[in-house]
Symmetry: C4
């Protein structure tokens, strides 16, 4: 039995949530689950349909993107996962999808404006859309550079990966992360819902104002602040 | 056996309808059921996913928002429910969701115009959108003040909570109510459908006129008037 | 055993298709099935949820709108069905829904333009939207007058009920019909799909042209003309 | 046992995927599967609902459109399939649907712009919309001419059927193809998703730019180039 059994199962479970939540068709997405003690993560194999997945098919990769265990080739987005795990020490899961509304915002190259409390319950800022990568980055080690594009975007906006757990990569699609793979999947579904409602909001009222600061602060703190009173813990 | 068994079961059943009707994902909503004789209501515990709910997990709270029975923390929106039950003596159920279309109208800070008979079957007026709350109200006892914001909005428009059983809170999301929790859930689904069709109506014809008075009166009365001939009673 | 067994079963089956096809929520629709030899039709009882329906609960009504058999009150739209059966001798089924896209076009008070072959496979003309009724008609025998509003609209456009089996009633919602209740339900689903695509077509290209005459003729005739070659009969 | 058993089963399986993927209602679509050695293809019978299909009901037709085996009349679009199989020697499956978003683009008579990597993973160019056919072609052997309209459109744009496996026929609806019927069905679902996101992208940002060349090249090559690293083979 592999010593990576636990993250394989965890990555498998989280991957199987994507089609159930309506976030992917076919093989358009992948989730990984990290084991910080071992310095590795389990990730979906490339191009394998969800109905053919099993925990054993997950591929174990280290934080430099090298395969450690597994017969199948890992997701083509593996290096993006690796570089984020390497630099962001407190995350345990990453999700990439091409979900309909979030991907459309990414294609539009616009940040998603904070219009309401659904957004504020999870983020205090607009959801950033990283600019499309330079030709040099694209022609180089593309997936590796995608990770840096994500990190650079947060840095330029003085945002920490612990404050915001989701981003759009311009022209491409969303990435989300979290302390666990389950949380990262949750963030992907929240992002899709927020992206859908932001478009509808602009359609209903092209002059809809952004959420006022007092509400942003209140909603975020009731879920995440030191005196939070949402949930059971 | 708790003397609140009946409202716990009723609140549980009504909460479980929300994901089935497509009105919530994860924990984005809550339903409560009141027992007027006991002066309490049963409400969903905070942050517990629907698939883990059971009747026993419902929390019993009085009309001042104090927990009377239950091991879990009640929904973070509990005080809004409490204040509405306290002031509106004839309601037996309240629902709060972040359903996609109704929430988008709330984010847009617009009333939903009465465009057709689907709307008129349930309301004779535009569905009101209460303005976002003042910073003072937000920084104070927020959820308690949300209840007052709802009541003030109806009062300013000279509407009774018996005439209209649904409202949008600006920048936030919808609340609905009714004589029973089932009716309040029904109202949330009707609101979502009406909100969807109102947006589509404006997209198909930006100059679409509001419904004429004679039709508003006819449709509302055939369902709700003294000579109503809809339904079996 | 009732001599109306057959139409009760037929009306029941057709009514149960509406929620399956996503055309109704709760009690927002009704189907009837006619027995021409007996001069009656079976129709859904008013306000009864689909999950509580059974063939025995269908109400038998004559073409003047009088209940002939059944313990429950018939649909509040019964008189509209009756007047259409009385005047249109070759129809065997009628459907009324508040389906999302068709109803939104009705609320917009616009005909649905013929943009493509999906539309032309079923109709050679724009799907008519009857104007909202006059106050006098609304305040009179409303549902009865709704039937006349539908008939008048077709007459003004020199359309026969055999050429076009669907209509929008302005500010209200769609009605469809056919030789059988199954065909009328089929027409409601086709109308909803055509209504959805017509809106999208205008959004993608506000100057999208109507379908050219040669294609209208070709597609309609391959399904319905004397030399039709669609289907098995 | 028919020597065409294998393609009948294959065509049946592929046809049954269409309603599961949400690409058709009723009988609005058809898939065929070719046997190159025998010079025939199996195709859905005309006007038969998906729930009544079985492998034996598939009709065997040669590349000139003549029925070789089968009691039912083949799909009314059979000649379009035949002409494409005859001229495109390397395809093994063809799909025609009236899926909502792709059909709306076809009705709009616009190519689908390449806005993101989801599109680029499958095509390096905008998805072409063939112009509506001339009246002469329509009045002639319509379905046969539809095949030529598709081939002419690719030829005018110097595109090979191996480079792009999907097209819109103006005013009508999409056709997709591939080496196998499964791949052709996959392409229909990808097209529908890309069509949906392209509309949303323009709604979010009417000035959204097309994807830059470096990204088009990178994404297509990682799936399809000589050094592709997507999938397991």
């Amino acid at each position: 039995m592999s010593k990576y059994e636990s993250i394989k199962q965890s990555a498998y479970n989280a991957n199987m949530q994507l089609p159930k939540l309506g976030l992917v068709i076919f093989t358009f997405g992948n989730v990984s689950a990290a084991d910080r003690a071992e310095g590795v993560f389990a990730i979906k194999p490339s191009g394998v349909p969800y109905e053919e997945l099993s925990p054993e098919k997950m591929v174990i990769v280290d934080f430099d993107g090298k395969t450690v265990e597994g017969k199948l080739r890992p997701s083509s987005d593996t290096k993006t996962h690796a570089v984020l795990y390497k630099h962001w020490e407190k995350i345990g899961g990453i999700v990439h999808t091409h979900s309909t509304y979030a991907t459309s915002w990414a294609q539009s190259q616009r940040d998603i404006p904070i219009f309401g409390t659904t957004h504020a319950d999870h983020n205090t800022v607009d959801i950033p859309c990283a600019p499309p990568m330079s030709d040099k980055m694209i022609q180089g080690d593309y997936e590796y550079e995608t990770g840096f594009q994500i990190m650079n975007c947060l840095q330029e906006r003085s945002l920490s990966y612990e404050e915001i757990e989701m981003i759009l990569v311009g022209n491409h699609a969303p990435f989300t992360w979290g302390k666990t793979p389950e949380k990262a999947v949750y963030n992907s579904a929240v992002l899709e819902s927020v992206a859908h409602m932001a478009l509808l909001t602009e359609q209903i009222n092209p002059k809809a104002p952004r959420l006022k600061d007092a509400l942003i602060k209140k909603h975020f703190e009731r879920k995440h602040g030191p005196d939070s009173y949402y949930g059971q813990s």
